[in-house]
Amino acid sequence: MIREYRTIQEIVSPLMVVRNVEGVTYDELAEIELPDGEVRRCKVLEVNGDSAVVQLFESAAGINLAQSKVRFLGHPLELAVSGDMLGRVFNGMGRPIDGGPEILAESHNDINGLPMNPAARDYPNEFIQTGVSTIDGLNTLVRGQKLPIFSGSGLPHAQLAAQIARQARVLGTESNFAVVFAAIGITFEESEYFVQEFNRTGAIDRSVIFSNLANDPAVERIATPRMALTAAEYLAFERDMHVLVILTDITNYAEALREISAARKEVPGRRGYPGYLYTDLATMYERAGRRVGKEGSITMIPILTMPEDDKTHPIPDLTGYITEGQIILSRDLYRRGILPPVDVLPSLSRLKDKGIGKGKTREDHADTMNQLFAAYSSGKDAKELMTILGESALTPTDIKFAQFADEFEKRYVTQGSEENRSIEDTLGIGWDLLTILPKTELKRIKPDNMAKYYPQTEE
């Protein structure tokens, strides 16, 4: 049943109130037909008696209260999914924009998805080798994980994400992979960088791209990541593919959400973001994962730029509470030319413990990882002391630690954007660096591993 109304009473972009409606339901999709025949989409945010509050996904310009028609479609916003989506480019609302034909839908899926039953999840524990030492060695990514990159404006997060997308693979398997990329309010150039990367490496045929650029309507951004995730869920759980989802930039998404919340005059939480920002972000991030009995998986790398590089800003803060760790980029390292500028100490992968070790990477992985973290932390403390008091005030051990920290940044963190290090290489560099320190300081490494892997000095 399609119901059409000419009873728009009020428009305060991005919201609109329609009167005298009947049978309208919450979260339903609607279309507005402008006098000139143009059709725009919107969804129901609230129904109260016979009036409905509707949120526009596009600009309100040109809507005429008397002549525009609103049609309620009786279903929520859906995405037409099929295997043919691979290799295609869509706009932020899921319409093809690459000049190709419409998708012949195998099914129409609600873009909000449904919560995954925790009892039906399979714990992610397959090591993904990204070829980046700071990730593989210290903040290991596993299949089905959601690991965001916390960046700042002007930092090379796009390069790092592209490098991961290019090099990521599970050791010992040739598998069915796909990349779903959602550009959320980023510039054409940034988006084009990814598209060209995918073209260059041939990954484009296995990619689905959703593109909402900076000049596209901001409110459309609410739908874009959900479109991407709906496509990813289809590919992963209906088509048994291992899907890597890259969402960039979540900050733009949250700002769009704030815009709508402000228009609705809701009581704001921190910094004007709505109180439900956590829940809203969670309903996206939690769609990553593996399911019991299903071959495919969704691994998610959301990228966000921290306003003023502030990790406690609500967007990175709430993201960090939901995702399974974070890779933080540091402006300080970037300035010193250390690329990729991964700030190792505050970065974290929560799922690493079950993805590393014997049979996954190597038995000494956990020990060396903890030791490198601890040593780098001590080294940085020592360097800090050194800047205040000078080298002479340090104990001989502290000087070694300071030296270790420098070498660690130079040899372990630094690597070329085309350099694909195997996990053995990464572990090897780690051991080489540890020889800088006195053996007695290597408290976190088990004696067996020391005996087996400690580099033998040449006589």
Binding site: V47, P76, M116, P124, F237
Partner: protein, 590 residues
């Protein structure tokens, strides 16, 4: 009694025509019969929070009240189960609706078809009152489930029969004084927002042994006490909570994943059946009930989840058991409260949270305690409540942390700088506290002698001194400190690295018994004493004292398994004393 929807706004639905419904009644909304609860009534208009996604609901849809408040089913079958926030069994939901949770699923919490071996322990003709045990069911290999007369019923036990029963079948009949026959089944129901009654509450007097050195030795929690674990993301809150769920010496653990990650619950589900309880060797899952309302699940059910959890915990407490309820995270619960409050257009308090935030939190924690249970055998049960708090940006000046700190007696503050240095558990020893130290001291003294608590006090003093000395070191460097001060720094470092640090993922280090904790701390202090004595005897080179051979063995001392550590620690102590005395004597010769 049924009404009609007039308004839908997210999880809030307003319906009219429900004049005779009660506040807090559970209602069924719409064709899919979604579960909701009445929050407020204005005339015949009821504001309802719906525990499921409301997409597709609109004005005109029917709302039907069930006439009873949100309740949980209590009986055999709770253990080893995983429920959502309103006690739907997630494994059975999966069997019906697949990998995602479809709406309107209606599955009873306790399996109706499953039978249990009931063994009657009461005799026919006995006087019974609410809480009296009339029989038992061996629910899992670690837990003997007591079947109790529900609170509020008393009279003469007319019949009770051992046998095989489902949870709904009558196992006994109580003839009340008024002459009515009350059937007792294996299952009883209880409204989640009402605390289950008990006879008397008393002050906790025994500690909860968690096997975590910083907790048991420095900031102990009492059985029946309350604790909070606040910390920014990445500081290891969840690992601390999991460790407590794994190793606490309680009979039952109720773990509530409230608005947190789905994979964390999956982790517990997969790991707990494999882990062995250090006390009886049984799988930990056999004593665990999981409540999972993850962050992507409906927000209103998240609000209910902590009540569901604590009611189940109270039920086991009533059997005279030690129960721990662990909620991760109460901040997400508070956010759910805030979201509903905003939709109800209530006047917000601080940071948008409702004005009743702190009283609700207090009500939750107050359900913990050490009690004499209902029933004539005056058995004692305890309920310990541990809540994680996730303050935005790690700043504990926000309302949820502040309200929690006013209530709880133990505060384990997690610190991100410790976490960055991979010092885990990242509990900051300077700002954490336990208000149970005085009440627990008699227990510690009686069990391990007075030395243990004295060592604790000394360790805390040393750590405190360290933080003061560190200020000086930052200004002038470690070299300018006097040898005794350098020794203090060194001892503090040993306490931090060789005692407080504990690797949750290492098989040998994950759990540490009291005896080992006490010996290890004593060993570190013995080293410190020996060095100090050497300094007074004239030794001058502290570096030499710090680099004796025995020192290296401290680093691995915590990994020494039970049964061997007594001997090995004694060896280390003997060797270090000898090596230090060599240095002193050498010094005198020069």
């Amino acid at each position: 009694m049924s009404g009609k929807i007039v308004k839908v706004s997210g999880p809030l639905v307003v319906a009219e025509g429900l004049e005779s419904a009660n506040i807090s009644d559970v209602v069924r909304v719409g064709e899919q019969r979604l579960i909701g609860e009445i929050l407020t009534m204005t005339g015949g208009r009821a504001s309802i929070q719906v525990y499921e996604e409301t997409s597709g609901l609109g004005p005109g849809a029917a709302v039907e009240t069930t006439g009873s408040p949100l309740s949980v089913e209590l009986g055999p079958g709770l253990l080893e189960n995983i429920y959502d926030g309103i006690q739907r069994p997630l494994v059975e939901v999966r069997e019906r609706t697949g990998h995602t949770i479809a709406r309107g699923v209606d599955v009873p919490a306790l399996n109706r078809g499953k039978t249990w071996e009931f063994e009657a322990t009461a005799t026919v003709g006995a006087r019974v009152t609410g809480g009296d045990v009339i029989g038992t069911v061996r629910e899992t290999s670690s837990v003997l489930h007591k079947i109790m007369v529900p609170p509020g019923i008393s009279g003469t036990l007319e019949s009770v029969q051992s046998g095989t029963y489902t949870v709904e079948q009558t196992v006994g009949v109580v003839r009340t004084d008024a002459g009515a026959a009350e059937a007792v089944t294996l299952m009883q129901k209880w409204p989640v927002r009402v605390a289950r009654p008990y006879d008397k509450k008393s002050v906790p007097s025994a500690p909860l042994n968690s096997g975590q050195r910083i907790i048991d030795t420095l900031f102990p929690l009492a059985k029946g006490g309350t604790a909070a674990v606040p910390g920014p993301f990445g500081s290891g809150k969840t690992v601390v909570q999991h460790q407590l769920a794994k190793w606490s010496d309680v009979d039952i653990v109720v773990y509530i994943g409230c608005g947190e990650r789905g994979n964390e619950m999956t982790d517990v589900l997969m790991e707990f059946p494999e882990l062995k309880d250090p006390r009886n060797g049984e799988p930990l899952m056999k004593r665990t009930v999981l409540i999972a309302n993850t962050s992507d699940m409906p927000v209103a059910a998240r609000e209910a989840s902590i009540y569901t959890g604590i009611t189940i915990a109270e039920y086991f407490r009533d059997m005279g058991l030690d129960v721990a309820v662990i909620a991760d995270s109460t901040s997400r619960w508070a956010e759910a409260l805030r979201e509903m409050s905003g939709r109800l257009e209530e006047m917000p308090g601080e940071e948008g949270y409702p004005a009743y935030l702190s009283s609700r939190l207090a009500q939750f924690y107050e359900r913990a305690g050490c009690v004499e249970c209902l029933g004539s055998d005056s058995r004692r049960g305890t309920l310990t409540a541990i809540g994680a708090v996730s303050p935005p940006g790690g700043d504990t000046s926000e309302p949820v942390s502040q309200a929690t700190m006013r209530i709880v007696k133990v505060f384990w503050g997690l610190d991100s700088s410790l976490a960055y240095a991979r010092h885990f558990p990242a509990i900051n020893w300077l700002n954490s506290y336990s208000l149970y130290l005085d009440t627990l001291k008699p227990w510690y003294d009686a069990s391990f002698g007075e030395g243990y608590m004295l060592s604790r006090t000394r360790a805390m003093t040393i750590l405190q001194e360290e933080s003061e000395l560190q200020e000086i070191v930052k200004l002038v460097g470690a070299d300018s400190l006097s040898p005794p001060d350098r020794l203090t720094l060194e001892t503090a470092k040993m306490i931090r690295e060789d005692f407080l640090q504990q690797n949750a993922f290492d098989e040998l280090d994950s759990y540490s018994g009291y005896e080992k904790q006490s010996r290890l701390l004593a060993l570190i202090l013995a080293y410190s004493d020996a060095c100090r004595e050497a300094l007074t005897k004239g030794a001058t080179d502290v570096e030499k004292l710090f680099n004796i051979e025995a020192r290296e063995r401290f680093g691995r001392a915590k990994m020494i398994p039970p049964g061997e550590f007594e001997q090995k620690y004694a060896d280390i102590e003997r060797d270090l004393k000898y090596q230090i005395s060599e240095i002193t004597e050498g010094g005198e010769e020069q």
